[in-house]
Structure formats: structure tokens, C-alpha cells
Symmetry: C2
Subunit: 231 residues, 2 copies
DNA sequence: AGTGTTTAAGTCATCTAATCACTTCAGTGG
DNA sequence: CCACTGAAGTGATTAGATGACTTAAACACT
């Protein structure tokens, strides 16, 4: 019987186990590939293959000439596919539909939990949104909203969704009105602060549906009226 | 300026691009590592590191002595972290909370869309659920429900959630009553068939909340009444 | 002809060894 | 004090070789 899974597979798990048992936090460095090789009694190329696997899921980062470092994603359950290549604009709409389906429920939960740190972060995201030099990344408000729910799985889910969204929306330039975006965010935050789950859910849904409408309108504008497809 | 990203990083993208342009479908084999190496003018170990990255995200599979094959996940946006190690039982509850937050919305969407193939698949999942030799994997009904929504992102999300769930619930043995599970699924499917989004959403939420209650009850049973914590 | 075994080619798996490139930091000299 | 330099450590990539596994064709036996 093939009870023997690949050596790299096993080695990968052992490295993760090492990170766990030695309580290495994101930012800290792993032993060098050479050290890991001797410790697990394999050769350097094998170690590198295992590290490449962990790199693909964002669990570690290989810095040339410096070392190998633990990254945040090692604690994440839900990830976005780093090798996914965005295809058409319809995929962007599909992502928005997905958000419309799940974010209202997240907003409701956030209203009931109200993780203090995350709620404050939503507030600051709100403030910075109107600044010209917006250091806050797009969608940050929504990510923090998910974090306010206190559920890490939901948080990771929205992080993943927006990561894909940002890669996809190269095509779909969302020209959603900045001021309107801010106001609607403020309304949502208000409902969450009051602990009104129903309103938070409802306003979040309306907000996202409005964005979808705007994106669709942009699409219609971009498309040549005399022609159905582009390229 | 670091205009130079790693060679492996670039190579990985080129391989994905090759799969795309040559329209290789899941199950089909990639050229051998040696061929890829000469085609992209790198050496075999470098190719292998790139393939390991793709392997980690389930985009390809390396079969010893056979070849490298494309896998389904190459078309997925949302993934579960293959290196995630389940920790405590509280994480299982957190996953259930996440499902309670998002699945009602998915059920509502499913009621409005009703992807024919997926709805039929839900039906068959329902039928097989009561068989002793249950070939249908756990949670299959819920995955198909998400597929019935017609939104691939949502479908992938639930696949990921349940993949993690199955790895976590080694600890949390859900002893949810099989018959009750079946009946509640039937009720949900009924609402979806009727196109009643509100009912589908409501019944899905109640169903998941009932499961959560059952899991918590199991937990209480397992825990020694005289002691608050274990380990 | 049909069946089972053997053989050979192709492929991934792993190792050994070496060179190159990048980062860091301590030490040097200004 | 500061800028420069150089050495050490580390990852990046290459090269070649050996082993193990899979597959299927060639073969021998029935």
C-alpha cells in the first residue's frame, strides 16, 4: 500500500509544525534552508520545494539574500488563488453578486458583536476616504466591517474577495462617486454602532447593489453602442 | 529599482499562461519538467519549484513516474489553506457562525436563480443521505445549494469552508440527527424550487443554527461537568 | 486469439556540488 | 559622525547524476 506520501509533502507539514511549536510569529525568520535541510535530514533543493509551497499560500516569504520569513497568511483558512488570472468583466459582476449575497449577513453580525478595535478602524477608514492622499486601500472599510463581526473566517473571506476584486477591476474601473460611497459607509457604521443589525444588513445590501448598478452603467458607456463586444 | 521579481515567480505565471493559451483542461497533462525547462530556458529544479507553487494551490498535481496534470482548482478564485492546522474546538464553532452569516443569503440567491443541474444534484444528495452506504460526502447538499446560486465565487467559498470544516470536525463529532438533517434539507430545497427566496433564506438559517446548538450540546457532554476547561 | 509477464522508455523524486546574486552589518577610513 | 567598503550569511540558479515509479508496448505462454 502506498502509505508513502511525497517527501516534500511531509517536509512541508513538518516545517509548519516547527513554526507552530516554536511559536514563530509573522515577521520572524525561519532557520536557513541549509539548517532546515540538515535538521530534517534532506537536501537543500527539497527544502526549497517545500518552502515554495508555503510561499504560494502566503505562509512564508523568501527574501533573496536575507532569509525566509513567516507571513500572516499562515494563520488564514481562506485564501485567494494567487495564480488566478482575471478573465472577463462578467467575473467582476459575479464577485459583486457574491458580496451582495454575503456582506449583509456579515454586517448584521458586526452590529451584534461590535469588535471595538475594528469599529474604530472603520471610523478612521471613513475619515481618510475623503483625503486626496488616501493611504487607505480600497475596500478597507468593508474588510474592517467583516473584522468587526469578530469572526476570523468571515474576515479572511472578505479579504480574499477584495484581493481578487482589486486584481479584476483593472478592467472594471469603478467610478462610483466618492462622496456617495463615504456617506453610505457612514450610514452603515451608524447602524452598527447602534447595534441595529437589521438596518446594518439592509444598508449594506443597498450600498453594494448601488455599486453594482454603477459598474454596469460604466460598462454600458465603455461598450461601443454600435457593437456588442469589444477587443 | 526592483523591476526584477523572482525567476520562479515569473516562471509560474508563464506556466499558467501556457495552460490558458493551450486550453489545457483539468485532467490533461503538462509537458515534462525537462521540456518545460528547455522551453523557458531554465533548469529542471527551477521548473520544479514553480510546479510546487502551483501544486500548493491545487492548480496542478505531480504524479511520480507519470507526469504533471492540471487540476480543477486552477479555475478557482477562493481556496482553503492546505497548510492550515486545525486548532481548538472553538474554531469549529466559528466556522459554523460564518456559515450562518452567509448561507442564508446564498440560499435566497439560489431560490431566485435555480441552476437546473445543481438543483437536481441537491435532490440526489437528499436521496442518498439516508442510505447506509453514503457515497455522498458530508456537506454535499450545502455545496450544491451554493452551486445552484449560479455564482461560482459563492460556490468556491462554500467548498473551501466545508473543506476546512471536515478537517476541523475530527474533534467536533457532529452527532446531528440524520433524519432531522434530511428533513430540513428537504424543506430548504422545497422553498428553492418554489422560488421563495425569503423562506429558503430563513430555513437555511434555522437549519444551521440548530446544528450549532447540537454541536454545542455535544461539547457540553464531552466536557467534564466538574471542570470548566479541558487539556 | 487471449492472457499474463517481462521489459524498456519516459517521468518525477531526490541528491550532490558548485557558482552567482543579494542583503546585512560591522569595521574602516575620511 | 558619516560614508564607504568588504566579508559573511543567505537565497537563487545551474549542472549533472542516480533512483523510483508508471505506463504501455513487446513478448511468451496457454
Amino acid at each position: 500500500m502506498p502509505a508513502s506520501i511525497g517527501l516534500v509533502e511531509r517536509l512541508t507539514r513538518e516545517i509548519v509544525e516547527t513554526i507552530r511549536t516554536e511559536n514563530l510569529q509573522p515577521g520572524q525568520s525561519l532557520p536557513s534552508a541549509k539548517v532546515l535541510a540538515s535538521r530534517f535530514e534532506v537536501t537543500v533543493p527539497t527544502v526549497r520545494e517545500a518552502l515554495r509551497r508555503l510561499e504560494a499560500t502566503g505562509s512564508v516569504e523568501l527574501k533573496h539574500g536575507s532569509g525566509t520569513y513567516v507571513r500572516e497568511a499562515i494563520n488564514r483558512r481562506i485564501l485567494d488563488n494567487p495564480h488566478y488570472v482575471p478573465v472577463d468583466l462578467a467575473a467582476a459582476i459575479e464577485l459583486l453578486d457574491a458580496r451582495i449575497a454575503i456582506e449583509p449577513g456579515i454586517a448584521e453580525l458586526a452590529a451584534n458583536v461590535q469588535d471595538a478595535d475594528a469599529v474604530n478602524s472603520m471610523e478612521s477608514a471613513l475619515d481618510n476616504a475623503l483625503q486626496v492622499k488616501t493611504a487607505v486601500p480600497a475596500g478597507h472599510f468593508h474588510v474592517e466591517l467583516a473584522r468587526a463581526s469578530g469572526n476570523r473566517a468571515l474576515h479572511e473571506m472578505l479579504v480574499s474577495l477584495l484581493a481578487i476584486h482589486s486584481r479584476t477591476q483593472q478592467a472594471a474601473r469603478t467610478s462610483y462617486d466618492r462622496l456617495r460611497d463615504h456617506d453610505e459607509h457612514a450610514d452603515i457604521l451608524d447602524a452598527i454602532r447602534r447595534g441595529d443589525g437589521f438596518e446594518a444588513s439592509h444598508r449594506t445590501r443597498k450600498h453594494l447593489e448601488a455599486i453594482k448598478t454603477a459598474v454596469l452603467a460604466d460598462w454600458a458607456d465603455d461598450t461601443d453602442p454600435t457593437e456588442g463586444s469589444r477587443r
